[in-house]
Symmetry: C2
Subunit: 338 residues, 2 copies
């Protein structure tokens, strides 16, 4: 439908637009009794507990239309919600999308957006079952995902205990680096490392299987990294009423950030500590279980698990290479910061 | 917290704002295992089917900040979603709220908004279990509600059959009339009829019990009236692949609209046919069951049920007082109309 964007198409009615969108969406998925089109969706209720999350992407706050493909944006809108479901060790099942469209969103853009959402739904095996379409001064995408977990098996932020090891999946800072690179307008976007950074920002991966593996290995707490490691770890510690000691030299800084620093002024470690939107998992786990979890996640998903420190009774400090303690600030992405 | 709105309060961080909001919200509700604060909410999964709906309210599109109390807006944001759940003959259970706040939303306004949401959640017996807070150029409130219905008992839009009677609850046009009155700046807002119209617009009632009663009485199809009777009935007919014959003289026009017409130029019947946001129920039901449904809804809720016509094989017509047929246009509120 990338060819459908003639100006005259803009004045579709809501019903016509709904009809176009329905064609992009998958048919009935597993457990979907009534999909889009009625007052509400009806889905089979599972045997475990339901897990519910919602996340809003606002133009000019979360994305820049001039830098972002509609398809990537749709994919990301689903993936970031799936990431929250995964961070509870649950399986995503159903998505709802409320969409506020601005004057600038022509039907082709909307169809591409839904195409990206569908691709993400296919990737993570969930069904898009409902939504709402509205006008808005700036584009707003609000996604809700419902998932399932065996009764009482959700992994919360509040379970970390002193002595637990702190682990993260993958590498950090790539998403923030990708955004810097995209905004720089540098020709380095065409390099291999440049593309990897852009992909980290525009096509984040939700760690569903990795989260399940961590839960099976006995993770005591878990969350996804959306606002930066330090701020998110600080939140996890606050929920668990504990402190943390982080080995700064162990942080898995995305290796491509060294390339970026040659082109765009940036500090790789700072991006890894405080850059948001990596959507990697942050978890705590007994020291004796780290080895097994690390090898299982490597075997099953080819993804690195890194031990970055220890949960303490209190305090929030980083250890440098010489073992000297430095107080850490919970810096990161705050939607309300100036 | 209406006294908390000093200018200096504006620069709350996201975490501080979340903390303030949590204090307004209810504690753990029935079935809530993990409420706001983690990556996602965890709720007990029911024994029937889950019903999911989402609805977005956008400043300047759905509400005017200069006319609307934050508390009413919060209440309405929940109620309109509950109305969609009710229209499936389901019971609302859990709500999630994604909120995009503009520079103009000070903490006192946000707390009042959540106060209204909590009042609606208390009224309709559902729990607010999660959300997302973001900045936005204009305020956006995106609510998702999950409900439950016995397996296979949801009442859809697609079940209307030729010969079924068409019924509506309550009276129509009041919400649109209330908006006209509010915008007029007329002193009539202080009259009894004026207050009734404003309340119809700013504090719509979701017909949860009425919907359950209609379902028990054998409603073959049902939806809530959000975009105006004609447009919504047309949609129901399209989903059911049937037509409709509407007795125009039977339409339960809100009686206060006659008072309004004396003050603000307006046509009561037109408002009842095409004004949106009444959130009354539109249902179809076998002719023999109308009487029982009408008296039960009157007995239980003091709410009127009105027979406004018949489902036909095809066509979409209105009958005037002389029994003459007029073709009807599916007019109503289209978010994409100019």
């Amino acid at each position: 439908m990338a060819n459908g964007g003639a100006r005259g198409d803009r004045r579709l009615t809501e019903d016509e637009l709904v009809s176009v969108i329905r064609k992009v969406l998958s048919g009935e998925g597993p457990g979907v009794l009534v999909g889009p089109g009625d007052d509400a969706a009806v889905v089979e209720s599972g045997r475990g507990d339901s897990v519910l999350t919602t996340d809003m992407l606002v133009e000019e706050v979360h994305f820049d239309r001039t830098l972002t493909w509609a398809r990537d944006l749709g994919y990301k809108a689903i993936a970031v919600n799936v990431s929250d479901i995964a961070a509870m060790a649950a399986a995503p099942r159903y998505a709802l999308v409320a969409l506020g469209l601005s004057e600038r969103d022509d039907p082709a853009w909307v169809v591409e957006l839904y195409g990206g959402m569908r691709a993400a739904c296919d990737e993570y095996a969930l069904s898009l079952v409902g939504g709402d379409l509205d006008r808005a001064p700036r584009t707003v995408i609000s996604v809700t995902v419902a998932g399932e977990v065996a009764r009482g098996r959700a992994v919360l932020r509040s379970g970390a205990r002193p002595g637990d090891r702190i682990v993260v999946t993958g590498s950090l800072g790539g998403a923030a680096g990708g955004l810097l690179l995209a905004r720089s307008g540098s020709a380095a976007t065409a390099t291999d490392w440049g593309r990897a950074l852009l992909e980290a920002h525009f096509r984040p991966v939700a760690r569903v299987g990795e989260a399940e593996t961590l839960a099976q290995a006995g993770a005591t707490s878990m969350m996804d990294l959306s606002d930066g490691l330090l701020l998110d770890l600080w939140r996890l510690c606050a929920e668990s009423a504990v402190g943390a000691r982080v080995a700064l030299s162990a942080i898995p800084v995305a290796p491509t950030l060294r390339d970026l620093a040659q082109v765009v002024p940036s500090d790789p470690l700072e991006l890894a500590l405080s850059g948001g939107e990596d959507y990697e998992l942050l978890a705590t786990i007994e020291a004796g279980a780290v080895g097994v979890a690390t090898s299982k996640i490597d075997d099953r998903f080819g993804v690195m698990l890194t031990d970055i420190g220890e949960i303490a009774d209190q305090g929030f400090v980083g250890l440098d290479g010489d073992g000297v303690e430095h107080p850490l600030e919970p810096r990161g992405w705050d939607h309300f910061a100036e």
